[in-house]
Amino acid sequence: MTRIVVPIGPQHPALKEPVNFRVVTDGERIVDLELNLSYSHRGIEKAAEQRDFIRVLPLIERVCGICSHSHATVFSKGIEEIMGVEIPPRAQYIRTIIAELERMHSHMLWLGVAAHEVGFNTLFMWTWRDREAVLDTLEELSGNRVHYNMNEIGGVRLDLSPSQVEAALARMPVLEERIRAYVGMVEDEETMLTRFRGVGSLSREEALSFGAVGPTARASGVDYDVRKDDPYLVYDEIPWNVVTDTNGDVYGRTKVRIGEIAESLGIVRHCLENLPGGPIRAEAPKAAPPGEILSRYEAPRGEVAHFIRTNGTARVERVDIRTPTLANWTSVAHCLIGRPLADVPVIVAAIDPCLSCTSRITLVKSGGDLGKDAPPPNGPRGWSR
């Protein structure tokens, strides 16, 4: 049977960001896949080594546009832990509010994009219209729709006034009603169900062995959420639930994400209504003592981990960013084998890929005899980043 290699990307109308799949098909079925990443590599980890803690936070925030607060918070959290600085409760609540609002708008964007990938543009327009309420709230609280620059080492930069809290709470009932409408739509809409059910199935064992994180893993029944398993900010003080599903396919991931929007709405409402008083920042020293830390956070796409090494100066010596999308790519590659070519956009969109987040470069020491670990003469197959 003739095998055809279909290159998808890096420039492709179905992709939002550049990524390259070299898909080997047998007729309409995918039999093999090669994944080439790192088209959006910008050298942020190196640039971060040259900036002190005030200048580096906007840079770290710009690893990703849609999970910007995740990166800023996980970095601040790591540095604060190395320094031994405890941020005041009001700052923790404000960081949580922004984090959950970010999760809401990220999942709503995803829902629209997933609907768009199957051609259901009406839902795309509706979710993005309703997402505007969340973005307006974020702009009212922080000054910007994305890249809030809310954090500084030791706390948050801006306080929430009572009028801001009131305006934010006023937008919640409409959002709640719309989320209920989406739940109904996902369960009843036949066209969506045909494209989502049974597509991209990942069993629990496969999810665990491939190291899937976030809603991708939780849809396969893996009960892993950093907010519950390694709590930070106020997640161990307020009532909320982890949303899991047992379907393991794109339908399951849709249900998990919509459930998480509803949970986040509840968390935001609880935090806004129970905001403690007090200062919004603690005194933090200019330089961090030498140390290493692995700081973890539940970004909208899953677990983001920053490994930070400091050396006693006002800069980091090394920051290594492992984003959730990077962890989920192997499961995508696995899910695509055996599926028809038309399922590529849906399965890729189901992990909510953020290519800006993904692109990291790994330097491998070469030269000299690597023996059995030497890469094959025509370059490594499969992963190249």
Partner: protein, 129 residues
Amino acid sequence: MGLITIAKTISRNVFGGPATRRYPAEPAKRYDLTRGRLVFEPENCRLCRICMLRCPTQAIVVERKERTWEIDHFRCITCGNCVDLCPANVLHLEPVYREPEADRPAKEFHRIPEPPPENADAGCETPGV
């Protein structure tokens, strides 16, 4: 049942008006804190260079000897660090966005005037002695 939902959706769309803002007839959406553009007032600048040292993108260049302050607006990400840290409060963020520019860089250049000389007789009971 489906027909009722469809009828409701259609009537809401026909009689409800657009979901988008009719810009530019309606002004653009903004809030008090919206980080639109950076405004600099040169009169009270102390040339301390804190804004230059804390700018994440090195958009601001201050020359103490020449008494100049310059910003490249295309590099500025309106993060607000300089606004928060300026000891003389000469930097502000306004909610209105900048107009489009045709060329890079979009530099704004200011010469900081010399501070007025201290009046040697001020506060003296018998001036001129």
